[in-house]
Symmetry: C2
Subunit: 211 residues, 2 copies
DNA sequence: TTTGGCCTGTTATTTGTTTGACAAGCGCCG
DNA sequence: CGGCGCTTGTCAAACAAATAACAGGCCAAA
């Protein structure tokens, strides 16, 4: 068991979806489920469900299926953790506001500890419980509070300029909304890109070139 | 040439990134580039670059490389189009505001024609040039203006309820920020999911279980 | 207690994507 | 004009992921 040696990225990316569906089933009073039932609900195959769960040791019972509580608990242990990740936000524009609100209100496992901008009009305002600081204070802040995750909601030039400093300051993971390709530069850092522009462009292509 | 029979999804998803890099190079005065140079800049392989471009006929010259202008133009023809896609926004909360602003100010190929909400406080306000209407007016509006794309910035229950109507009203593509899994239901519809929650969860997993 | 149906964990097969290899084309230089 | 270096387009091999197949465990019922 606990064969967490090297779980492939596609599997990891599917975990949140499993969590969502299983969480729902628990809300609906379901107590156990088979791989085929789950696969059917999620639009995938029973094979994939079993193989995915097996990456983490496989927490089902032959002849029975999977206990919803066990399943939910195991996946939660994988995705979340007792201690939240201290997180800072860079760029408090419209998107920054929306994202920080999401991070504090709806997301689990993160704790917003700081927000930074260069716009004098923003500095000093409160954003989801933290005071927006000027980006000049970033170094001092990070050395003191050691945040682990940075959310980049700034324009590309800004992201490009600040990313190396953040890495040097010990940031381990980026939630990147900027158009700057972080992952090219550092590969001992985890980057989760949310490229809205790319997403929209491929949507447009697919809508126009519908098979 | 023009072997646009069936281009695989991974290739389509890479097109925007190509566009970004090539656009930049043009800004920097570069006029031609080889597959290996481009691959190197983007952190991929020359093989992949050539094979990707070849899905669309291959617009390079042996011995020379790719002309930046030609390349940019060809990719733009694939991703964008002369006529913009009429788009409506559902859900004008904080995220809806940020996304609509992005859509109108920064994105290319889309035209926001309507915005809808259920919150009486929002109805009548202006959002990026359109007046926010009550969702009860959605059917009439769609029958009149025939929008092609819908942006879903509403909570899951709302998305779940409204999605079938939107499909019935002729929506061809969804930019889905809700936690509802549209793609499971309709497969003649294009859905581009931006699941912020999923994205954050997998980031957390990867930060904690760094290889 | 034994039998049969069901379901998991795991191994095998198929499918799809990425990487590598090479022939043919272009331009430059002698 | 011919050879050489470089580059594309394309085909082949390697790799990764998704699907299918199956052996073994569990429960229920007889």
């Amino acid at each position: 068991m606990s064969n967490i040696n090297k779980v492939s990225l596609p599997v990891i990316k599917r975990l949140p979806k499993y969590y969502r569906y299983i969480y729902d089933m628990k809300q609906n009073g379901i107590t156990k489920i088979s791989s085929s039932e789950l696969a059917n609900a999620m639009g995938t195959t029973a094979s994939q469900v079993r193989q995915d769960f097996n990456c983490f040791g496989g927490f089902g019972q032959q002849g029975i299926g999977y206990n919803i509580d066990v399943l939910l608990d195991e996946i939660a242990k994988l995705l979340f953790s007792d201690e939240k990740l201290d997180t800072i936000l860079l760029g408090t524009g419209m998107l920054g506001h929306a994202i920080s609100s999401y991070l504090t209100a709806e997301a689990r496992g993160y704790h917003l500890v700081g927000a930074f901008d260069i716009d004098p009009k923003e500095i000093g305002n409160t954003l989801c419980g933290v005071t927006i600081k000027h980006i000049d204070e970033l170094t001092e802040f990070c050395e003191l509070h050691k945040p682990e995750v940075a959310v980049l909601c700034l324009p590309r030039a800004g992201a490009q300029e600040i990313a190396p400093h953040l890495v040097a300051l010990g940031i381990k993971g980026f939630w990147n909304f900027s158009h700057y390709d972080l992952s090219v530069m550092y590969d001992n850092i985890t980057v989760e890109n949310v490229h809205l522009g790319d997403s929209l462009m491929s949507l447009g292509y697919m809508v126009r070139n519908k098979d």
